[in-house]
Symmetry: C2
Amino acid sequence: MSTDIPDVSKVSIGILGGTGDQGKGLARRFALAGHTVLIGSRSAERAQAVAESVGGSVRGADNATVAAEADVVIVAIPWDGHRSTLESLRSELAGKIVVDCVNPLGFDKQGAYALPVEEGSAAQQAAAVLPDSRVVAAFHHVSAVLLLDPEVAEITLDVLVAGDDREATDTVQALAARIPGVRGVYAGRLRNAHQVEALTANLISINRRYKAHAGLRVTDI
Amino acid sequence: MSTDIPDVSKVSIGILGGTGDQGKGLARRFALAGHTVLIGSRSAERAQAVAESVGGSVRGADNATVAAEADVVIVAIPWDGHRSTLESLRSELAGKIVVDCVNPLGFDKQGAYALPVEEGSAAQQAAAVLPDSRVVAAFHHVSAVLLLDPEVAEITLDVLVAGDDREATDTVQALAARIPGVRGVYAGRLRNAHQVEALTANLISINRRYKAHAGLRVTDI
C-alpha cells in the first residue's frame, strides 16, 4: 500500500450526532490521537455532557456550531433524520469535507438488513443534499464497542473510503490511519458506497454467529 | 472461529459456466483438494476442452449433465443469462445445494458498479427461480487470477457465505476451507447477499488503485 498520505495531524474534527456510541467512540480515538474534536448534538447541553464524559480536549456544542467550526465533519447521526439534519446545515458545511458513516439498516427478528435509499446510499443522499460539500463515505464498519473500550489500544481493521474527490478521500484515509491499527483504504467512487454501508448488516450477522466485533481487512494491499 | 465443520471431502462439485476464469479457477482449486469436479458449459465440447486444460481429474459436460450429476453445484455463469440458464435447469438442481457466485456488475469508464436486481441479488434471483434448491451465496471475492496462478499455493482471504439453510451454509463454508488459506465465514441471510455481490465493484476499484488482487479478511473471528 502506498504511504504517500497527507499530514492531517492539525485537522480539527467535528462529529454530528457525536452523542451516539459510534460518534462518541470516534471522538475518543481522534482526541487520543491529538486532534481537536467537537461533538455535535441537537442539544448543546447534551453534547457538552457527552464531551466531558469522553474527556481529554473534546468539546461539545450544537450541530450547527460544530459544522461551522470544524475542518472536517463526520456525520454519525441516525439514518432517521439524516436528510433533514444535513439540509439544515447546508451553509455551515459548504466547502468542507463531510464524512458520512451512516448505515441505513432495518432490524427485525431475523437480524439486520439494508434499507433501500432513494439516492442509492446515505453518502449519495448527503452529496445530493450538500452540493457544495465534498462528501466521502467512511468509518461504517468500526465497532463502537471497540472504539469505546479503554482496554483496546489497537483496532485491527481497514476503513473503506469511497468518494469522487481524490484530495478528500486521501484526507479521510489519513484520518482513519490516526487510529492505531486502522488503515484507510480507498474503495471506489461514491456510487459504490451503498454496499459498504449495507455490509454492516452482514457484520452484525457475523458478530452474532461468532460472538465477535468483526471488521474487515483488505488482503494483498 | 468454530472449527465444527462438516466433512465435505467426498462431495463432488459441478461448476456451471466453468469455462469462465472464475469457474475454471475454482475447478482447479477443488480438483487440487481432491474433489471430483465437473465443468459445465452450454457446449459439452467446450467444457471438455477446458476441463482438459485444467487437468487432474476434472471432467467437462453440458450444464444439464453437470447439474444432474454433481452433489453441489456452483453457478459461475455470466449475469447476462443467469435467470434463463437457471430456469432451464430447475429439475436437475432440485434438492441440491446451489452456490451462486455471480456478481451483477456494470462497467463504464469510471470502473465497475453494482447493477440493480429485481429480486435483490443474483442469489435471491436463483432462490426465486429454483424454489426446490438450497441456494447459498459465496465465492464472490476470490480472484480468478490467483485461483489460476500455479505459483500461488495459498489464497489468504475469507469467503463470505450467505444463506437461509444452516446445513447448506455449513457445507459451503467447509468447501471454501478446502482451498488452502481460505476460510468460509457465515455472513448472514440470503436477503443480505446483494452487498456481498456488489462489493466486488469496490474490490475492482481497490485492485486498480493498489495494483492488487484484493480480497477480504474478517477480523476478530
